[in-house]
Amino acid sequence: METNRFQWKIGGEAGFGIMTTGLVFSRVCMRAGLKTFAYPEYPSLIRGGHNTYQVFVDAEQASTQIHPVHILVALNKETITLHTEELIDGSAIIYDPADFKDGLPTIEGKQLIWVPVPMNQIIKEREGHRVARNTIAIGASLGLLQCPWEIIEGVISDWFGKKKPHLAEENVALTKIGYDAVAGKYATFNYNIEARTPAKPHMVISGNGSIAMGAMKAGMKFFAAYPMTPSSDILGYLSRQERKMDLVVKHTEDEIAAMNMIIGAGFAGVRAMTATSGGGFALMGEALGMAGLAEVPIVVIMGQRPGPSTGLPTWTSQADLRFVLHASQGEFPRIVLTPGDAEECFQSTYEAFNLAEKYQTPVIVVVDKYVQESWKSVELYEATTSIDRGKLLTQDELNAAVENGAAYLRHKYTQDGVSPRALPGMEHGRHIASSYEHVESGATTEDELETVKQNDKRFEKLQTFLKTDAKGPVFYGPENADLTIVGWGSTKQPALEAVRMAEAAGLSINYLHFIYIDPLPLKLVQEALRKTKKTLCVEGNKLGQLEGWVREHAGITMSDHFRKYGGRPFYPEEILEQAKKHL
């Protein structure tokens, strides 16, 4: 019996309620004390098309989806034909015979366990909605896994009870029917759940939810955005929290307005953020440079999906790193962070607000569909640092400066490049912020020397950042490994599992994870890479965007690379396979 490690997958048409089902399943496993990682795939349409949701469950660590599916819930025939390859000997298929009137598909060479559950008939008898088939399927899946009934009942009651209590009762009953139809009847099924008590409480949350929480914890009070997959959920979630958390959330007419708005709010002293994807970020480019020049703190969430142009709107990609690093005309300091999982999405977003105000410049958090829309069980979030507003002046400090006879200069030359900041509404702090090159006061200049000096001042801020706040890449897995997988952003998710699989197979492989991409902390990067023997750079683009960035700045060439750019995320098995080739 394989206990507490398996993968469950459900498939069907959009509109079948698959996303909700996946979340409910994750939550049951989470409350059973297990780690979960849930990953949805769907095309860009509202109804129809093939949707799947898969949940990987493990007692110790679930950072990714894996290749084999141990339980497949097929809400239609297509689900079986499309995912046959993922089934292994001993996998179970839960299906409704009513959906297969022409007979079951023949799958040769695999010992599969067919689990018929008359979901449509049960619903007909109880006059339920078609979507409720999912509830029966959850019951059947968990019955197969011998999950304690009380946990399931608790999750279903809470899930539906928050909306309508009578729905909770009906759904608990449906789940029980599914559970009883299967429990104890499939002795050959070799996977089960044994509930554990976790040391700390957990929640199941997406990367997008984690970003939104990080922003709220950081005191973001203004959010402006235009919907774009995969970042739309941030707008949706923050809109729902607007009243509870005292926010102003603005769905703008376009991304140009969103970017200009957060700059206006940032200038006026409110922590502000936008969230978009490549197409929207393209529209924001011009204003991004203005924030850099006018030294306005802003935070931008840039969620990648495959381009160019509309590309594959609902799939994943890591091909916009160079775009972010070089966006907007001219040169100005920016800080680019690439968190790799839900926990890092929370921490990096929180930290981005402190960095934006300390260095008075745009901070861009680069994520992707894979990390934004996958749901992970995590410990409850806590900030690890306190709010730091940098050189934001109080009215008293400003008064004192004036008493000393000094005129307030918004872009004053300082040793660390950061100038004290006054806000509109403060007495004695009047100044103009400008998209024009300026002198210390903000007044326009076209003088050569002043232009050079202001550029140097702005870039000095990055030197200060590198000395005080920048962090180097982090190793996961054994020290001095024979091979190091190198990655950034969401590559962390499958890479961690690949390292674990390697360890189980007796291979010496570790993972080096980059979050601080720009400015690249050169010494720390070189130090880390000196500790590697062979390196395999794994990233979701064709041209090797991080690999080139590290070569350009640190002068270090990776031993080899593994790249994917078909819209699908990496699987740990394929990373391991590639790694083995280079050992």
Binding site: H202, R243, D254, A287, M290, L380, R430, I432
Partner: protein
């Protein structure tokens, strides 16, 4: 202490062409700010790019010179961040009715409490005389050597057709006293106030000159039959152009503003919220 014009002086001097209508608008704004009797640090003037975009460099308040066409979203957020401020956006006809047209339409729908002054000289000045969205058909410019083909935007009519905006006015840069009255009324108005200002470009627009306007403009407030709460009447007056041109407040009503529906800023401006230790733990339950 009464404020004087010198209090509004900055270290920068206008570099507009001698005789430019922008000087009239600058004076109108300065006089309105004096009459408003609010401390200068409570005003923020936000601009786009163009000859108009330079204006806030010459008024000693807070200011933000943004990028071309984007003064409105920038200003809207300054206002939402601190709605106690007197926020004024300034732009031009190319800036506001061309590249920035989308923002204009949506700013009107929102009716936020801010003032929007458009320097409408019916030509692109700073880029050396191309035709603009308000250029009269047939006018020859560097980008319309055979005469402009497009039908011009009528900003007042556009605003009247928009539901939401609660103050619609037109001024003339050659009538500073009346312009100052209109700007002051716009600043005092609770809601989005559009002030389209007829502003002769002495260098590139040889058609819509001071003389052109002086022989045509009249003041709506001197017409006792005019009712500025009557949209139909306003629609008729804004069509006038060839023989006479109305200036003054075309339309003014008291309607709810965008920020009236934002509980987060009901008690104090957003910028005054304490963010040092925000409790997000109540958000966790939904995910457990």
């Amino acid at each position: 202490m009464t404020m004087k014009l010198t209090n509004l002086q900055t270290t920068e001097n206008p570099d507009w062409c001698p005789g430019c209508g922008d000087f009239g608008i600058l004076m109108g704004i300065k006089k309105a700010l004096i009459a408003l009797e609010r401390p200068l640090h409570e005003t923020c003037i936000v601009s786009g790019i163009g000859c108009s975009g330079k204006l806030n460099h010459f008024v000693n308040t807070y200011g933000f010179e943004g990028i071309h066409g984007r003064a409105l979203p920038l200003a809207a957020a300054v206002h939402l961040a601190n709605h106690k401020l007197n926020v004024v956006a300034v732009g031009g006809d190319g800036d506001g009715y061309g590249i920035g047209m989308a923002h204009f339409m949506h700013a009107m729908r929102r009716n936020m409490d801010m003032t929007y002054i458009v320097h409408n000289n019916q030509v692109y000045g700073l880029t050396k005389g191309q035709y603009s969205p308000t250029t009269e058909p047939g006018m020859k410019t560097s980008s319309s050597p055979f005469g402009a083909i497009e039908t011009p935007v009528n900003p007042i009519k556009l605003a009247l057709a928009s539901e939401g905006i609660s103050f619609i006015a037109r001024g003339f840069a050659g009538d500073i006293q009346f312009l100052h009255d209109i700007i002051l009324a716009g600043m005092k108005h609770n809601g989005f106030a559009l002030i389209d200002v007829l502003q002769p470009c002495v260098t590139f627009n040889k058609l819509n000159t001071y003389e052109f306007f002086k022989s045509r403009v009249y003041r709506l407030d001197e017409d006792t039959t005019y009712d500025n709460t009557n949209k139909k009447m306003a629609m008729e007056r804004c069509e006038e152009w060839d023989t006479r041109i109305a200036t003054g407040i075309f339309y003014q009503v008291d309607t709810p503003t965008y920020e009236d529906s934002l509980p987060a800023i009901a008690e104090k401006p957003l910028v005054e919220h304490d963010i040092t230790n925000i409790d997000i733990t109540p958000l966790f339950k939904e995910f457990m």
